[in-house]
Subunit: 449 residues, 2 copies
């Protein structure tokens, strides 16, 4: 079938309003799971490549559509169930934004386990497809942990619907696990049943400054031991990041200057911050610190932590990385890549921040040099040291997309990559779903063209 | 290759001591992942069916080996890493028992998330393969949540090794999820990296009696709201179960007689039980109750809860079920199946107990009638009412094995079952792994022979 013949068929499924053409591509917006299934069946029949688009906030090019004729947007999949307050679950279409779900949860005195900076634009379907992480992973885990049900459409239009939201169901394979974090390459997420959490009765937010990583890490460990299961954020920022974000956002420094900053959020059974204050006063080696005393102070601390857009604007080119390693290896890693980058580049600014509790650090590097060679040298400087610091991953929470595909071999064996492709071929034999996302072994990237 | 030729090859891999013949079957005991891989490659080459055996404590016939020539025991895969105290992880061979890991965790002032009655015999490999649940799911989830890494061997001998134990790794598919809960049909688990939890500073165990389900359920909800994230067990027993177990174990009743019993375990930041005692005194409708004041009292309460073996011995035939539904539907369900069973059988005793927090109830039914017809009518009585109480599952935590295979259609659609088999064929094209475990749609069970 020609693309125009296919377009006619898609129009008959969706109605003309929900299919548009742009730059030789067709953009379709199904309004229900059954429309989505009909569209995919038609695309699969003709072997037409399709790129799945959620909120478009991914950081690794996962929704680039260079080699797809069709872009499938989930924006109209916005059906929502009422919050089930007894079971603490809600069911949402893939196109619902994270923030919308967070607000719904809050209205019922509950909380989403997932929170991240792009909350206002990212969609729950994209969150599922990338197994999103964010700032509360230390308490609630990646979103995988809270996903109680999925409705997914396979490449050939087969609908797998399991939205019941049962906590326990060992009746055969837990197929939904396959679609979480597989970047839309195995099926398209249409709807999600997600577990909510009771809101804590209170919270206490601390910002603490230290003159080095080691005392900061020791303090963090003490918090974890003192308040087991009640630390909901444990974030770290190195000085360059903290300074750039607070300056760029014109936020008056909440505490005096330090080399490494630690954010600790403790969930309280009561509103009483007393035990946390008493504990904080026993910490050694704190250069300066504060316990937020108002919502405004809390907002300021989080604004600095979430201020990475300031850095995006501060340099002609900014490359961002998202690596994972043992938390206790972070200091060595930061030193090693700083040395490697300084050796290769002059006039570079390096920013470190991230999720201390999960060993997940984000690295942003501001350059003047936009060349591919510069990027390649930078990749080697950032990824190279991971080899000697195993276990480690080139992608903690951002996924592979197109940006990280050439480096997948650093974190997955040839056997693992081959098995990924075995599963992918089984579920999408015509390779129509997100074909720009390639999981290939190192040898494939080294083969001369 | 003949079975004797294969036996010779397996002997050369394992040495004669680790291969035995019995009842026309060969039992092999690989001592390492590489031996396991060589064995599977040889078995796959010849298309020889193999049944994987862990501790053999499963309740659904998952390790029955009727149509396998080879039994593969993981008993020698007992390598253990030291506990990583900072990251709170440990790596263990598939053959290590759950209790051994629990003891290791305790020695480091930590706790395994998983606990269940068969702890002394069941192995961690079996726990992974069946996605085990147990009594602490309400706090720690099924074992899936704590699995940080797996080493798995595919049917053809391919080793997938990912034992790093990273908290976050979104580098391509999270393949380990496939092998959790798939009952050894997709690959054989050789080793596991598992997350441990900080031991709570203290615990408080309550046993409360009520005269009906509704006030018991209301009290449980109040505990969950009052101590969010700190309830580590929330178990329910109906009178017949409680009476039979306490009488059978000759345990003096900790509290006066009631219709429904609730066990609540609250994790404490400190050893002070004061807040829990104060809260418990505000509960209405408690017929009688106690807060355990000694380790002995705690043991007695748990002995009653874990006393199901008493019931196994009390009747000529006992059929056990493990269903999952919304916690708020449990009372209706109990009434419905009691009525249905009483209608079909005289002289039957029905015992209900289970995990209230997860909506997972175990039903044990003592009969005199060992016939297949009786079993079939009982299945219908227990499973039938689930249809109108969706979401529900015929297997909350025990898996499918052979016992539940004819009922899989009640909990999974034809599309889901077909997709399970697509994945299974892709990873085990010769169907050598646990061939007695069959995932088939309803129509397959209805086809005349």
């Amino acid at each position: 079938m020609s693309l125009s013949g296919l377009t006619t068929e898609l129009q008959s499924i969706l109605g003309e309003a929900h299919i548009t053409e742009q730059d030789c591509r067709v953009r379709i917006r199904p309004g229900s799971t059954s429309e989505l299934a009909l569209c995919l069946a038609a695309l699969n029949e003709t072997g037409t490549k399709v790129t799945v688009l959620g909120g478009g906030t991914g950081l690794v090019g996962g929704t680039s559509a260079d080699n797809s004729a069709v872009i499938l947007s989930t924006e109209r999949l916005t059906e929502l169930s009422a919050v089930d307050k007894e079971r603490r679950v809600v069911t949402a279409g893939a196109g619902v934004t994270l923030q919308h779900l967070q607000n719904l949860a809050q209205d019922s005195d509950m909380r989403m386990g997932l929170d991240l900076g792009a909350r206002g634009s990212c969609t729950i379907g994209g969150n599922v497809s990338t197994n999103a992480g964010g700032i509360n992973v230390i308490r609630y885990g990646m979103i995988r942990r809270d996903i109680r049900g999925l409705e997914v459409v396979l490449a050939n239009g087969t609908v797998l619907s399991d939205l019941g939201g049962l906590e326990k169901n060992n009746a055969g394979y837990d197929l939904k696990q396959l679609f979480i974090g597989s970047e839309g390459t195995l099926g398209v997420v249409a709807a999600v049943t997600i577990a909510l959490h009771p809101a804590p009765h209170g919270q206490c937010l601390l910002l603490l400054g230290f003159d080095a990583f080691a005392p900061m890490y020791a303090a963090a460990q003490r918090f974890l031991s003192r308040f087991p299961g009640r630390i909901s954020a444990l974030e770290v920022m190195w000085r360059a990041y903290y300074d750039a974000c607070s300056r760029g956002l014109a936020i008056t420094a909440p505490i005096g200057a330090a080399e490494v900053y630690l954010i600790v959020q403790v969930d309280l059974d009561d509103f009483d911050k007393g035990p946390v204050e008493a504990f904080a006063s026993t910490l050694d080696d704190v250069v300066d610190g504060c316990i937020a005393q108002s919502a405004r102070q809390e907002e300021n601390i989080w604004a600095i932590r979430d201020g990475s857009e300031v850095i995006e604007r501060a340099h002609p080119i900014v490359h961002s990385y998202d690596v994972s390693l043992r938390p206790q290896s972070l200091a060595i890693y930061v030193d090693e890549i700083t040395t490697a980058i300084r050796r290769n580049f002059t006039d570079t600014q390096i920013y470190f921040f991230g999720h201390l509790g999960d060993g997940n650090i984000h690295v942003m590097i501001g350059l003047d040099d936009a060349s591919a060679i510069a990027k390649s040298r930078l990749d080697e400087a950032v990824y190279g040291p991971l080899t000697n610091l195993t276990p480690s991953s080139i992608s903690a929470e951002h996924g592979i997309g197109i940006e990280k595909a050439p480096h997948l071999w650093r974190s997955r064996s040839d056997n693992e990559i081959a098995t990924m492709n075995t599963v992918r071929r089984a579920l999408d034999p015509k390779s129509i779903l997100n074909p720009h996302i390639i999981y290939a072994p190192r040898s494939a990237w080294l083969t001369p063209i």
